[in-house]
């Protein structure tokens, strides 16, 4: 246990000293901070547009934004988690796995009385703590921003939902961070180690959902997951691609956490995100041989 926490502390220290992934962390926090403001600005403008439409007598329909949920403004955060957060997590994971090999200290570390499983678990624990801190900061900023927009502090129920969304985000990001570690462990070249999980991310976020929904790649940047096709070949393809479309499952589960009643919560989507993280952790911790941690790393 002491060794595990020592490795985790070392991981946190090393991550703090590595400036490259910090750039992505700052970018992620900044986008989470402004996303609620962008949502509020847009919503205000849309309401103004509606009032103008009503004043000019073009419609007698009710304002579609009259009764939006308090956490409506948190929806944009979902897409920034998928776009920036996951890539940030991958970069953190890859850098963590390659750090010792780049510094030529991997062989030295493995001379100490530590099991490979403990070493890897400690590293993952360090990354998980770092990601938890980043996500917690993002959620606090979101809570404060939405409270300001709503003109008062959020109530207990939306706060609990926001905390649950933070938890889901953490699980999602941990899955990608561990994928980054996996690439860093098995690939010797840093460029390839970064590139492979990035390509896998692009496939998971864009290509697989497109096969199941016939949607255009850019429409997948919408924070709300697109429904699978119900007819034709895409209907059958969606059976295969839906469980693998981690990004779309995260979006679905996030919408459920932020808006839906408990009875309508998309448990299956949340389970897919969790299983993805668990499989990645199991593969890295239980099946990585010591030989893979030795040797050098190249640009």
């Amino acid at each position: 246990m002491t060794m595990l926490s020592t490795v985790a502390r070392q991981e946190l220290l090393a991550s703090r000293r590595n400036r490259a992934p910090q750039f992505l962390i700052v970018m992620f926090i900044a986008m989470v901070a402004v996303s609620a403001m962008i949502g509020w600005l847009t919503n205000t403008t849309v309401s103004d547009v509606y009032r103008q439409v009503l004043a000019e007598g073009y419609t007698d329909q009710p304002n579609p934004f009259d009764s939006i949920a308090q956490l409506y403004y948190a929806h944009n955060t979902v897409i920034y988690v998928v776009l920036i957060g996951s890539l940030m997590a991958i970069a953190l994971g890859v850098q963590s796995a390659l750090r010792d090999r780049k510094a030529s200290t991997a062989d030295l570390v493995l001379t100490r009385p530590i099991r490979v499983k403990t070493l890897l678990a400690g590293r993952l624990l360090g990354i998980a703590v770092l990601l938890a801190a980043v996500v917690a900061l993002g959620m606090v900023i979101t809570w404060a921003t939405i409270s300001v927009i709503n003109g008062g502090p959020l109530g207990v129920s939306p706060t609990v939902r926001l905390v649950a969304f933070g938890g889901l985000t953490w699980v999602f990001l941990c899955g990608f961070a561990v994928s980054g570690v996996l690439a860093g462990v098995y690939i010797k070249r840093e460029t390839t180690a970064l590139l492979v999980p990035f390509v896998a991310w692009a496939v998971v976020v864009f290509v697989l959902p497109q096969l199941g929904t016939a949607a255009r790649p850019v429409s997948l940047l919408n924070p709300v997951a697109l429904p699978p096709q119900t007819t034709g070949i895409f209907h059958w393809l969606s059976y295969v691609t839906s469980p693998l479309s981690i990004g779309e499952n995260f979006k679905t589960a996030s919408s459920g956490v932020l808006d839906a009643p408990l009875s309508a919560f998309p448990w299956a989507s949340a389970a897919v995100v969790s299983v993805f993280m668990i499989i990645a952790v199991v593969v890295v911790v239980l099946f990585t041989p010591a030989a893979k941690l030795r040797g050098g790393a190249y640009e």
């Binding site: 403008t45 849309v46 073009y58 460029t191 970064l194 864009f206 497109q210 096969l211």
Partner: protein, 320 residues
């Protein structure tokens, strides 16, 4: 000039021998192919649904024949262009980064800099080599798209369509070269190549995904599924009249989108391929005046990225 050619030829040889480059090119081609196949199949599903609807109407004794769905083959390339915008740019960043990082990590940089011409000739040769590589790949991707349209979409392409595909290939080449030259420049500028890669990935995220996403989010019509104005049953002319009251907001939103080279590339390509409804079936001569401003901006940005790469690659920086 001869030294530039030597470096360009060496760059092409390195790219040809690099397995990662082949994998990237294959991934991009597969993504393009998948998107055309998906669009073609989606169109076929539409036609099947239409026929079933017409048969059902006929069976019920109705004499009404609804309008058949229209197929404009080049519009099926929308997904392919979007993949080039997103994944193509990412790969261009990696290729640009790798071209400098490779020499640094192999320890060949110092040897190269002993040659006549030094750093400037080295980077110019690299950019020429990469230019040839992306030109070949752009042409290849357009051919893959055309072949997919013919085989899956059963679409015949006339001379005009080929001309438009040629414009799309040139636009793709410029767009990919922008990213490659910028990444090469940043990698030459910074001491640690891995820092340059992560920094460039951040820039890619911001320019390709975040800024356009903010622009889309700020679009009032995107706030309701199916469109706000459609939900309120408002005609297009009335929509324009209403939005005229929000011209400042719209200008800010448009400026935000236009600040991303990705959106400029998209607007130019969508216009010439007729993917944007407004330009569908319009002759290229009529589209050009509307796209001239965007084209010049893209050219300036590409020239800027080249100038940055040439300026950043000094002997002192490359030796670090």
């Amino acid at each position: 000039m001869n030294s530039v050619k030597v470096f360009a030829a060496k760059e092409l040889l390195d790219l040809r021998r690099n397995r990662v480059v082949w994998i990237l090119a294959a991934c991009l081609s597969i993504a393009v192919l998948v998107s055309v196949v998906v669009a073609s199949l989606a169109y076929r599903t539409q036609v099947t649904d239409y026929r079933a609807y017409v048969d059902a109407l006929a069976a019920s004794g109705s004499a009404v024949v609804p309008a058949a769905p229209q197929l404009y083959p080049l519009t099926l390339l929308r997904g392919a262009i979007e993949y080039l915008e997103i994944i193509g740019a990412l790969f261009a960043v990696v290729v640009g980064y790798a071209t400098i990082a490779r020499e640094k990590s192999r320890g060949t940089m110092l040897l190269i800099l002993t040659r006549a011409g030094g750093a400037k000739v080295f980077i110019a040769g690299k950019l020429v080599g990469l230019g040839v590589f992306w030109a070949l790949l752009s042409i290849g991707l357009i051919l893959v798209s055309a072949l997919s349209l013919a085989l899956v979409g059963s679409a015949g392409l006339g001379a005009s369509a080929w001309g438009r595909l040629g414009i799309a290939a040139v636009a793709a080449w410029l767009y990919l070269m922008f990213w490659t030259a910028l990444a090469a420049g940043v990698t030459a500028f910074l001491k640690r190549p891995s820092t340059a890669l992560v920094l460039m990935l951040g820039v890619w995220l911001l320019v390709v995904l975040v800024i356009p996403q903010i622009g889309d989010t700020m679009d009032p019509d995107n706030q309701v599924p199916g469109g706000l104005f459609a939900a309120l049953a408002i005609q297009k002319s009335d929509e324009v009249a209403v939005l005229a009251h929000f011209s400042t907001y719209e200008s800010i939103r448009n400026a935000l989108e236009a600040s991303s080279i990705e959106k400029l590339y998209e607007r130019i390509t969508f216009a010439f391929l007729g993917i944007k409804d407004k330009y569908n079936q319009q002759p290229a001569a009529l589209i050009w005046p509307a796209m001239q401003r965007y084209t010049w901006t893209v050219l300036v940005l590409v020239a800027g990225s080249f100038a940055f790469a040439l300026t950043a690659a000094t002997r002192t920086r490359l030796q670090r």
